[in-house]
């Protein structure tokens, strides 16, 4: 799917993943985790890659294999270096009253695979994947 970079579209993204993953027989508890990770990733793109400007494009692709769901998010905004964003130490995080920055932490916690790539051609690609079990199994 392709959306414009506005938080209004987050519910469309969640609905898209819910319907697609359910049709593939993925267990709801796993779908919930994938939905949250993709919501957080999309929110980060809107806020940080496009600085909340609503006219950017975000492409979201879902791929399923027997044991894995892979999601690729592509944007054409500003890139970042995820290795410079440390894992937050939550008690310190609360003390410092830091708000935000939890999205990447959640994505790393919820998903089994996270890779980020900034291409010199002017796009950024985040690939995240989750092991799935079919409910039929």
């Amino acid at each position: 799917m392709q959306i414009k970079s506005t938080t209004e579209n987050l519910s469309l993204v969640r609905d898209f993943i819910q319907e697609t993953a359910l049709n593939k027989g993925v267990h709801q508890a796993i779908i919930d985790k994938i939905i949250l990770a993709v919501d957080e990733a999309s929110t980060n793109i809107i806020k940080h890659a496009y600085h909340s400007k609503p006219d950017g494009d975000i492409i979201i692709q879902l791929e399923f294999t027997d044991d894995k769901c892979r999601i690729i998010l592509i944007d054409f905004g500003e890139g970042f270096n995820p290795s410079q964003i440390p894992q937050p130490d939550m008690p310190k995080y609360f003390e410092q009253k830091k708000v935000g920055g939890l999205g990447l932490h959640l994505i790393r916690t919820l998903m089994d695979y996270v890779e980020y790539h900034t291409d010199k051609g002017g796009y950024n690609q985040l690939t995240i994947a989750k092991k799935i079990k079919n409910t039929a199994a």
């Binding site: 938080t7 209004e8 987050l10 519910s11 969640r14 508890a29 919930d32 939905i35 949250l36 919501d39 957080e40 929110t43 809107i46 806020k47 939550m90 008690p91 609360f94 009253k97 830091k98 708000v99 935000g100 939890l102 999205g103 932490h105 959640l106 916690t109 919820l110």
Partner: protein
């Protein structure tokens, strides 16, 4: 469009804020303004009732972090109640149970304020 709303009720000097629907980066500003209104009215004893909240992302959790210090420095607190498991799991994942009190019913949270 994300569907989210809040309803405020009062029980003595405790304010109950009911969260309804989907709390994400789009709807979090609505919750921020609800907390701001309570603080403006000097209502610092707050119970957040999550019974009708179906979904929360980190933008929603951030709202609770943004206001907690102001509220606690005024002898108040935000106590969290009645979450469905999928919502509680996100709070748990980010370590909130270390710093916030969670209750299974709204009444227990109100009683806790009244005992203090």
């Amino acid at each position: 469009m994300s569907d989210f709303s809040t309803t405020i009720r009062e029980a003595g000097d405790v304010s109950i804020i009911e969260l309804n629907g989907y709390l994400d980066a789009h709807t979090a500003p609505q919750l921020e303004s609800a907390f701001s209104d309570l603080i403006d009215k000097k209502r610092f004893k707050i119970v957040a009732n999550f019974e009708k909240l179906k979904y929360i992302s980190s933008a929603g959790l951030g709202v609770f972090m943004a206001f907690i210090e102001t509220i606690r420095s005024n002898n108040g607190d935000i106590k969290l109640t009645t979450m469905i498991p999928s919502v509680y799991n996100i709070f748990d994942l980010l370590g909130f149970p270390l710093l916030y009190e969670f209750f299974s019913t709204e009444k227990e949270a109100i009683d806790k304020f009244n005992q203090q």
